[in-house]
């Protein structure tokens, strides 16, 4: 049974991870992770994969993939390679196109590292520098750097989880492409996606969708279970997508609310400098309160992002992968039905009957096998989903309560101090 490793705390991008030499001015960041993910519950630790290091330079992120294994298929027991995002996508595509895995939900490829938003914000901050005081500017810069770091840690986590799901899977872990990915020291032949590749990808995804529609229309499904699953997944996927979009908008606005406190704080400080000592103390303390408040609000926003949005996002992608299984199954069914028709024709003409019989038997076996596997996968998907949501929602609630309590306590203490300020 595959274990979904996305929600454990060591995946928490905001958990304290030692950061080596952040040089945010040039957006080159290294993140070191000390220990491999231990939440992979396997009977054995025969294949452990983690991303021990990551370096971001300009357009590219380089992930250091670290493997520790006891499996004989590998040449060494512990080794490291450096991979870029495109090579992860290459690996994912190899699984997708492998017919043996047709009935399986392939772990979705990690999303492309996207620092555009952060970079844009930093640039805008630089341009608007004149309008801000030195203090405001530094605080905003600090916020943006934190945001960038969080995005970075998240992308590392997503790439790591992808590999770990593969490594933990009893069938996927044996794949030769995975071995190559983990071991082969040279660059894989995956080139950065040029325009043609992107268009190719677009065309591919378009054909998948038309496949869905076409097949759905012409091939009647023999099984109620799959009928239900198909309509459920269609609907669920689109709702998930919607929910992700809305939660993202909400959390980004929440961050802006947090940032708005910076200006408030700074103006109160300015006011303080023009006042007599008692009032000055009062206002300075008030300003500090707002500053602390801002930090807590920021944490509230990022925890919502982490626990709610990311969970939704992950399952959205998983739902998409599950839909792909259904499409593959339908294709297989279409092939099965074609083999049936072929056999009928052969019997009618009494020509190549044996070959047709064999073809039909193979198609049937393939279809049955795929269906059985798919059914298991889809049921498992539901169980995983429910468990993951439960975990995330509980953690979200606990975190939000924690933060709200801190805020409350902050205000309470501040009020106490401020009232004494005479």
């Amino acid at each position: 049974m595959m274990q979904d490793c996305v929600e454990d705390s060591s995946q928490d991008p905001l958990s304290t991870v030692p950061v080596a030499d952040p040089a945010p001015a040039t957006m080159d960041t290294k993140v070191e992770k000390k220990k491999p993910n231990e939440n992979v519950s396997l009977a054995d630790n025969s294949l452990l994969v983690d991303i021990s290091d990551a370096l971001s330079e300009k357009e590219k992120v380089k992930f250091t993939v670290h493997t520790k294994t006891t499996l004989p298929e590998f040449q060494k027991s512990e080794f490291i390679v450096v991979r870029q995002h495109e090579e992860f996508v290459w690996l994912h595509d190899r699984y997708e196109e492998n017919e043996e895995y047709a009935g399986y939900i392939i772990p979705p490829a990690p999303p492309r590292p996207d620092f555009d938003a952060s970079r844009e914000k930093l640039q805008r901050l630089g341009e608007g520098e004149g309008a801000l005081t030195r203090e405001e500017f530094l605080k905003m810069k600090e916020e943006l750097e934190d945001e960038y770091l969080a995005t970075f840690k998240k992308t590392v986590a997503m790439h790591e989880v992808f590999l770990q799901r593969l490594a933990a899977h009893p069938v996927f872990r044996r794949d030769s492409h995975l071995r190559v990915f983990l071991e082969y020291e040279q660059d894989l032949c995956a080139k950065p996606r040029g325009k043609m590749d992107l268009i190719g990808g677009l065309v591919r995804s378009m054909t998948t969708t038309t496949d869905e529609i076409y097949l759905g229309a012409t091939v009647r499904d023999v099984n109620d279970f799959f009928e239900q699953e198909t309509s459920f997944l269609q609907e669920y996927y689109s709702h998930l997508k919607e929910a992700v979009a809305k939660v993202d908008r909400m959390t980004s606005k929440h961050k802006e609310v947090a940032d708005a406190h910076i200006k408030l704080s700074s103006c109160i400080t300015q006011l303080a400098t023009r006042e007599q000592p008692p009032m000055e103390r009062f206002l300075t303390k008030a300003s500090e309160t707002f500053d602390k408040c801002r930090k807590i609000e920021g944490r509230m926003a990022s925890d919502q992002d982490l626990k709610l949005a990311d969970t939704l996002r992950y399952y959205m992608r998983d739902a998409h992968a599950a839909k792909a299984v259904l499409v593959r199954r339908l294709r297989c069914l279409a092939a099965y039905e074609a083999a049936n028709r072929n056999l009928e024709k052969a019997r009618a003409k009494n020509k190549d009957v044996h070959a047709a019989e064999q073809g039909q038997a193979e198609a049937c076996a393939k279809f049955e096998q795929l269906s059985a596997r798919a059914r298991e996968e889809l049921i498992d998907f539901r169980t995983r989903r429910v468990a993951a949501f439960r975990k995330s929602l509980i953690e979200l609630a606990e975190l939000e309560i924690k933060h709200a309590r801190s805020q409350q306590e902050l205000f309470r203490k501040s009020l106490q101090v401020l009232r004494e300020c005479q």
Partner: protein, 468 residues
Amino acid sequence: MSAGPDTPPFSTVDINNDSRDDEDIFASAVQEVSLDPEVNGAREGLEKVSIDDTPASISTSLNSPVMEEIATERSNNIIITVTEPQKIGEGMSSYVAYRVFTKTNMPIFSKHEFAVLRRFSDFLGLHEKLTEKYLRSGRIIPPAPEKSIVGTTKLKMTSTPSTENVNGSVSSAGVQSQFVERRRAALERFLNRVAQHPVLSIDPDFREFLESGMDLPKATSTSALSGAGMLRLFNKVGETVNKITYRMDEADPWFEERALRVETLEACLRRLGGACEALAGERRELAVRTHDAARAHASLSGADPHAPLSRALSHVADLHEKIENLRLEQSNTDFFILSEHIKDYLGLIGSIKDVFHERVKVFQNWQHAQMQLTKRRENKAKAELSNRPDKAEQAANEIVEWETKVERNQQEFDSISRVIKKEIERWEEIRVDELRATLLHYLEEHMKHQAQAIRYWDAFLPEARAIK
């Protein structure tokens, strides 16, 4: 109507009231304090004063130093609330009436509690009267709320009664009721400030405004588009030019320093106000987006066949709707408590600048009189030299005339300077206290909001745990 500032009948009376010495905040601005101890009892004594027990000396002129000292040393026991804005009539002739409820122990009022209905132009009319009467003597007149043609027209043209909005979601009705609420709060602040002012609070027009059950004569001259409005506009332009072009030769460093301080304070407050409004706006937008997220979760819940998860998602949706309202309330706190306070003070600073400018005008008068006097003296000298006794006599008469004017103008200038200093000192103390109170109130409200957030999430947690 307005008594001259130059009648201090009690200025030679000795005071013996020691309890006030350490509270004499006017020490820096005032040369002499005079008070009849029988008139000014202790603070607590005010409650025991019955309606008929009007001290005789209160019948002196409004601007005498006695009056000022009596009233400035303790806050007036009067609270005014402005409530129940109601739209009267329909279409362009409609207007909003406010209920003005006063609760007071002050002897000049005939009852302890009373209420009247007033419309916005009544408030403006009162403000104008007070300005006419007291600005010249150096009083800071609390600002009246701004006229808003757009806001008012919208109000007139909506067919639904614009009373308090029940749910807080942002909608055009919500924005409308926000407008009414802001105006109501501003009117209330205006009246209470007047009520706390030692001199303005006992003005008969103010009293009539609060007490008189009859409708006040319609203050048409306050309408922005009236003839008087146009005239005001022209005058304002002229004044602005005057403010820019006339450079007063400031002999008193106190005024120069204060004027500068007021300017920098204004700049600071403006920035703070901007930051606060920005925060309020972001929070309001956050509430809208929270609403969207709630809806999305509700749809998701509907699509999920696994009952416990579906229930939990539905709870997430509910939770977010509650959070949406909470965020709106937080935004309102930002807005109504902090932001409006700042706007209020910016308005007051405007009044202060007005009063400074009045002093400049008084100075101008004085200088003008001075110049006229010098000219007449020259005329007389010339006439004497050219041996024109008739002209010399005429000039001598004029000299006497102008000497009187110069003296009177100088006294006016001294008086207004003195009064302004007192007003400013009073204002400085109030300002600090009010800012303190506002910030404390603001933090208290936000603390309550967090408590509410905790309650909501606490209620949700068991639902999340119940997912199987």
